[in-house]
């Protein structure tokens, strides 16, 4: 606290025009990111986490309607011109995407693709760009950089390609790296390596990280703060300890109960969250989670809960019964 925030997202709302009418993908999303901070955005498919990332970087599809604000050092990215956004992308915000197998141009050598990213925003000449590319390849742990730079992507495994993507994201030393499900397409053994690499390299460059994932487990050792999204809204946000040990939203609780843990007494079964995420065309009334919530009361289907402070300083939850849910979990852990 006290430190000025680097990125401040307020009331971000993204809707898509479609033949079924407006589809609300993100609804009043707010969070802040401090310089060098690592936050995680968690949610299931369709919860709006990727759409949020795309809207912040101006990469949303043409049928998207975006409102709210996203201030990077005071400049609102949602109102910046295309030209300004092009400079923000790559130079100030680097991105790593979900599918490393298809995120590199198959017709271009690895080295050239990194050089291109370097040349896009720095005044480097061809030679300096080449040196920088080799240096980046080395930093992300690609063996024999000078030889690898001459290879085409199909010679690389998924994990290697994701390393290259990280190198590209860091090419211009951005202030923020947004990693959108960077490990989803990778083997479990490689996932940890990539997350560690992301943490290590971003720390070296002093870049803040927004890690978008559906896997709470990945965030445990990585993020300082976590934003839990459900159906385009923030369900809960707080520091890692609050989220893991004092969840105040039934959805977060459900997510935690459906993950295997080794630091708790052995449970016989995982408890899945009943039902399916709602269709964004037809969102439930009141609290969007109430049809799946085991603790739902009448008020839940009538009134939209506000995102309010629970207990800790930065711990917010959007639940009418946040305090009771928090107490519930505390009892569970104790027993």
């Amino acid at each position: 606290m006290g430190q000025a925030s680097l990125l401040e997202v307020r009331d971000l709302t993204v809707a898509f025009e479609s033949r079924y009418g407006l589809i609300q993908a993100v609804n009043g999303m707010s969070f802040t990111l401090k310089p060098g901070e690592r936050i995680g955005i968690v949610g299931e498919s369709g919860s709006g986490k990727s759409v949020t990332a795309h809207a912040i970087t101006g990469l949303q599809p043409s049928n998207a309607r975006v409102s709210g604000e996203a201030r990077l050092d005071g400049v609102d990215l949602l109102r910046a011109s295309k030209r300004e956004m092009r400079r923000v992308r790559g130079e100030r915000i680097g991105m790593v995407f979900q599918n490393p197998l298809h995120c590199l141009n198959p017709a271009m050598k690895i080295g050239a693709q990194i050089e291109e990213a370097v040349l896009a925003h720095t005044g480097a000449n061809k030679n300096e760009a080449r040196q920088r590319a080799l240096e980046l390849l080395d930093q992300v742990g690609i063996p024999s950089p000078s030889r690898s730079a001459q290879e085409h992507p199909h010679h690389f495994s998924g994990g290697m390609r994701q390393r290259v993507m990280i190198a590209i994201a860091l090419a211009c030393s951005p202030q923020i790296v947004i990693a959108d499900e960077p490990t989803t397409a990778l083997d479990v053994t490689i996932q940890a390596q990539i997350i560690d690499l992301l943490a290590e390299t971003c720390e070296k460059y002093g870049a803040a990280v927004i890690l978008i994932t559906h896997d709470l487990g990945i965030l445990a050792g990585f993020a300082e703060r976590i934003v839990v999204m459900y159906a385009g809204r923030v369900a809960e946000q707080g520091d890692v300890d609050s989220i893991y040990y004092r969840p105040a939203h039934p959805y977060t609780l459900g997510l935690l109960q459906s993950v295997t843990r080794i630091d708790e007494a052995r449970r016989d079964r995982l408890v899945p969250i009943a039902g399916n995420p709602p269709s964004p065309v037809l969102l439930p009334s009141g609290c969007v989670f109430h049809p799946r919530c085991p603790y739902a009361q009448t008020v839940c289907s009538e009134k939209v809960p506000a995102l309010e402070r629970v207990g800790g300083t930065d711990h917010l939850a959007a639940c009418h019964f946040a305090d009771e849910i928090g107490a519930l979990r505390a009892v569970n852990t104790a027993s």
Partner: protein, 296 residues
């Protein structure tokens, strides 16, 4: 090969086996289909170019006393109904047929690529307008339309070429547009945008290079089809005018003597078939070699 076997058994976390970069030509050489097509075409185009040197005599020189001559040392494929040397006419005919097909092929490739790219990148109204024009042209039977245009302009090789170009650029335009549209949605194009590259660089470095392969394949196969269409139109008397030799025109002349001298139709028929086969084989081979989904 021994090297590959060694690296394949090495631990998986090591760098994948690094193959030396192979040129397109070397890859083609390894593909029998493509090689066969390439050899046929190279031989035919070389023979066409070298016609003045290798033809036994002037293709238009008549020897009325020596009509329908059988195969001999002087006339390797005999003579036709006017006593002209058949081989010489085939060789000179190759110049017209093969290079006209190639010329028309290159022209429609150029037009199609430009129109298709504009439609694909611009989108919106421009895209709609261009594609409706293509739709209208595609709604006509193409050979008939080419025939009508050439007929209006009057017979002649140049007019025939104009007619063919006017009709056949549509396939490329439509294909290019489709390729541009599908390529724009690829994750690596999004990555390129995420790096902050300007639109023209995204198009020239990331979209277009990945489209070259399918376009070359279509172009090759299409040139074979153009050769057939050209022969058909010439057969109908719309192309070159006598006495210039051209394969389709030779077929047409030979048709009158089908019963007494079938070889006059057989030779140009074989030439046309062989050339078209060459283009198809090369096209198929190129498809295998250039297919980006096939990783070597």
């Amino acid at each position: 090969m021994a090297d590959a076997a060694v690296t394949a058994s090495a631990p998986e976390l090591q760098a994948p086996a690094l193959l030396p970069p192979r040129s397109l030509l070397r890859q083609l050489g390894g593909d029998r289909t493509a090689l066969a097509g390439l050899v046929i075409l190279v031989l035919m185009y070389t023979a066409a170019l070298a016609a003045p040197m290798i033809a036994p005599q002037d293709p238009n020189e008549q020897d009325v006393g020596n009509r329908y001559a059988p195969v001999s040392f002087e006339h390797p494929l005999g003579t036709d109904n006017l006593g002209r040397d058949e081989l010489s006419r085939l060789l000179y005919g190759a110049r017209v047929s093969l290079f006209t097909a190639l010329g028309v092929g290159v022209a429609i490739l150029a037009i199609g690529i430009v129109v298709g790219s504009i439609a694909g990148f611009a989108g919106g109204f421009v895209d709609g307008l261009l594609m409706r024009i293509v739709d209208v042209l595609l709604a006509f039977p193409s050979l008939l339309l080419a025939l009508a245009i050439t007929g209006m302009l009057g017979p002649g090789l140049l007019h025939l070429m104009v007619g063919m170009v006017a009709v056949w650029w549509t396939d490329y335009a439509r294909m290019m547009r489709g390729l541009v549209l599908s390529m724009r949605e690829r994750p690596f194009v999004e990555s390129a945008r995420a790096v902050g590259l300007p639109g023209r660089l995204v198009a020239s470095r990331h979209v277009l290079p990945n489209i070259v392969g399918p376009v070359i394949v279509l172009g090759t196969v299409q040139t074979g089809r153009l050769l057939l269409a050209l022969s058909a139109l010439s057969f109908l008397g719309l192309g070159v005018q006598p006495p210039t030799s051209e394969w389709g025109a030779m077929l047409s002349e030979g048709q009158q003597y089908l019963a007494s001298a079938p070889q006059l139709m057989v030779y140009p028929g074989i030439a046309i078939t062989l050339a078209a086969l060459g283009f198809n084989l090369l096209g198929d081979g190129l498809r295998d070699v250039l297919d980006p989904t096939m990783e070597h």
